[in-house]
């Protein structure tokens, strides 16, 4: 299964990566994506998750080809 992973803003700095291309078989949920892409980093408080640019939860299922993003609370406007 191939997943594109993105980290933004302070989370990008915490993890030290902006983009990760995962290619692994042991991925079922966004939590798995986080664990592998972050290098077993603890989930960050208030962290937001998007799967294919829609807001999602860590428990949500991912599928081959998905884009999964992790970022802090948004502060636009």
């Amino acid at each position: 299964m191939s997943i594109t992973v993105k980290f933004f803003a302070s989370l990008r700095e915490t993890i030290g990566k902006a983009n990760v291309n995962l290619d692994a078989d042991n991925i079922a949920t966004a939590a798995d994506v986080w664990r592998i892409a972050s290098g077993n980093h603890e989930p960050v408080d208030n962290m937001l998750i998007a799967i294919n640019m829609e807001y999602a939860n860590l428990g949500e299922t991912v599928k081959d080809g998905d884009e999964v993003a992790f970022f802090p609370p948004v502060t636009g406007g």
Partner: protein, 145 residues
């Protein structure tokens, strides 16, 4: 219904004029225009702020601003909306966001304009990083309203 992301400074008055001029079919139909402009201040949370960088998630930002604009159009009887939002390096006194709603009556344009900014603030993926003196800091949360 227009949503635009901009990497360079924009002039809100020129944008509003251009948008209206490009929609001659609206002339005479709208009685109410409600506008909100969010502008960068030179202070925040008690500190002077010299500059700001606004990071975003381009495709997701565009998608959610489109969705929010569509929702406003479903909830209120409005004729048109305009959303322009900056990203990148921003200086104090630069406009960050411009929102405008045209409708026949103000009872529709006012709440629709407020809806746009509140939903944008909670759903559109933008992140502000402020430069305060030699340091920079991520803004951790938006004010609730």
């Amino acid at each position: 219904m227009s949503v635009e992301l901009r990497g360079e400074p924009f002039d809100p008055w020129q944008e509003l004029q251009n948008h209206q001029n490009a929609k001659p079919e609206l002339a005479g139909k709208f009685g109410a225009t409600s506008i909100f402009i969010g502008t960068m201040r030179d202070f925040n949370d008690g500190n002077d702020v010299q500059a700001m960088t606004l990071e975003h998630y381009p495709a997701m930002t565009q998608k959610h601003l489109d969705t929010i604009s569509s929702e406003a159009g479903e909830r209120w009887d409005i004729l048109d909306t305009l959303v322009i939002h900056r990203y990148g390096d921003i200086q104090p006194n630069d406009p960050i966001v411009l929102l405008a709603v045209w409708s026949a009556h103000r009872s529709e344009s006012f709440p629709a304009c407020r809806y746009l900014i509140e939903e944008l603030k909670t759903r559109a993926p933008f992140w502000k990083q402020e430069k305060t003196g030699a340091n920079s800091r991520w803004v951790e949360y938006n004010t609730p309203e």
